[in-house]
């Protein structure tokens, strides 16, 4: 638990009201921008960004949006209409004053890997005004057929079970898969083949290259008791130690958490479908049920303890890291 940001100890003027506004709705993405190799993040809010927020993004080399955990097909009490909230997220993306160059979807596109669920997700996401969407699978996307369907739809031209890398304006992006071939009693897993590939993939990169890693399950031990971590993530991060700036973007836990460890910044995104409880605050990590008319406020409250700072990953100064 020592890794969690529990309170806002930064004197950044973000009060509870301001924070709740930022976290107003699950259908939220996070807009990232790269400033000289340092990632900065801003939550996407209704009506686009304020002038102040725009100023923060000014001078960015480029920006992209992370979207996560759409769970299309989920229809339980926690959110009976996840397609609508994904649509809200897409609307927010399209209303951003600084359009993103691409989207990263960090998995759990579907609830049960059903073709109809993938169809709906693709249909809604197609409406996003972004260059393209890069995906990594969540465990819900590879429930059947050994993940073949996911690969055919979202993972063309990827390696192994769907891992890959690409370069964009001087930054190196690495999409990892940690939701397949999981071992009894374990956490998320990258596996030997993928680790070997990763080692080779970064071998010839200059250490000054900004590296952005994205995967579904957190690549740090958020809360292993609930499976919120990846067994062999340390080995993967070991290959990235020499880089001056590494950002790790994950989903899976349906809440924002950040941690800085040396040159590595970890960040988990909100879901567009339903919230999950803070670690250890419920009997299980299952969807958090709230009355429909309280959904927004409870979602906001459920995230209060984590994200602070001025929404800049670069300057999150976590004393607990």
């Amino acid at each position: 638990m020592a890794d969690l940001i529990r309170d806002n100890i930064n004197k950044d003027g973000i009060d509870r009201r301001g924070f709740l506004q930022c976290m107003a709705w699950a259908g939220t993405g996070v807009l990232y921008s790269l400033h000289g190799g340092i990632l900065k993040s801003l939550p996407l809010m209704q009506g686009g960004m304020s002038g102040k927020d725009m100023a923060k993004m000014k001078g960015a080399d480029f920006s992209f949006i992370q979207i996560s955990d759409s769970h299309i097909g989920f229809s339980k009490e926690a959110n009976p209409d996840v397609t609508a909230t994904l649509q809200i997220a897409v609307d927010r993306i399209n209303s951003a004053a600084a359009p993103p160059e691409f989207l990263l979807h960090t998995g759990d596109i579907s609830q049960l890997s059903k073709p109809s669920e993938f169809d709906t997700a693709e249909q809604v996401l197609k409406g996003a005004k972004a260059g393209r969407i890069f995906y990594v699978p969540g465990e819900h996307d590879v429930l059947t057929d050994d993940g073949r369907q996911y690969l055919d739809r979202f993972g063309k031209d990827t390696k192994g079970k769907g891992w890959y890398s690409f370069d964009h304006k001087g930054a190196h992006f690495i999409g990892l898969v940690n939701v397949v071939d999981l071992k009894a009693g374990g956490l998320g897993s990258l596996g030997a083949d993928q680790l070997k590939w990763l080692q080779d993939d970064v071998r010839d990169l200059k250490s000054s290259t900004p590296v952005i890693v994205f995967a579904h399950i957190p690549l740090w031990a958020v809360y292993p008791e609930w499976g919120w971590g990846t067994d062999d993530s340390e080995q993967a991060l070991g290959y990235l130690k020499r880089f001056g700036s590494v950002s790790v973007l994950n989903g899976h836990i349906h809440q924002i958490m950040q941690k800085v460890e040396g040159n590595v910044t970890f960040h988990t995104a909100l879901s567009t479908a339903f919230p999950q409880p803070a670690p250890g605050t419920a009997p299980s990590p299952g969807p958090m049920k709230v009355p429909a008319d309280q959904l927004r406020s409870v979602l906001g409250i459920s995230h209060v303890n984590y994200v602070q700072g001025n929404h800049s990953l670069a300057i999150v100064d976590s004393p607990l890291a």
Binding site: E77, L112, S113, L143, A184, W226, S284
Partner: protein
């Protein structure tokens, strides 16, 4: 005949013992209470299998029921002996254990969920 009586007698005692244990152990009571002919049930609640250990005679069928709002996949540790389809809320999966032994299993997508079956 003595032998047969003895065998039947011990079975009866064993049966009483099982009932008594079940009465004092809520987890076992839940399992044996749902027993139908040669079967037992394991419930999935809050990302855990209940009971975590279940003892059955060879030839029994276990039926798993998922009560969670998230899917689970009941899978033997060797990933070969048995593996359910993704179980959505209220979905069932059954498997018959013919040979005595200890069978460990887990949820293929939430591998922290582990449990075992003792087949006698």
């Amino acid at each position: 005949m003595k032998c047969i009586k003895w065998i039947f007698g011990s079975t009866a005692i064993l049966a009483i013992a099982v009932v008594l244990t079940a009465a004092t152990r809520p987890d076992l009571a839940a399992a044996s209470g749902d027993k139908s002919a040669g079967g037992a049930t394991v419930k999935i609640d809050n990302f855990s299998f209940g009971p975590a250990t279940i003892t059955i005679p060879a030839g029994s069928t276990i039926t798993w029921t998922n009560n969670d709002d998230v899917p689970h996949v009941v899978t033997s540790d060797d990933n070969k002996m048995f593996k359910s389809k993704p179980l959505d809320t209220n979905d069932h999966f059954s498997f018959t254990f013919t040979k005595p032994g200890t069978y460990n299993y887990y949820c293929a997508i939430h591998p922290k969920m582990t449990a075992k079956i003792e087949v006698q």
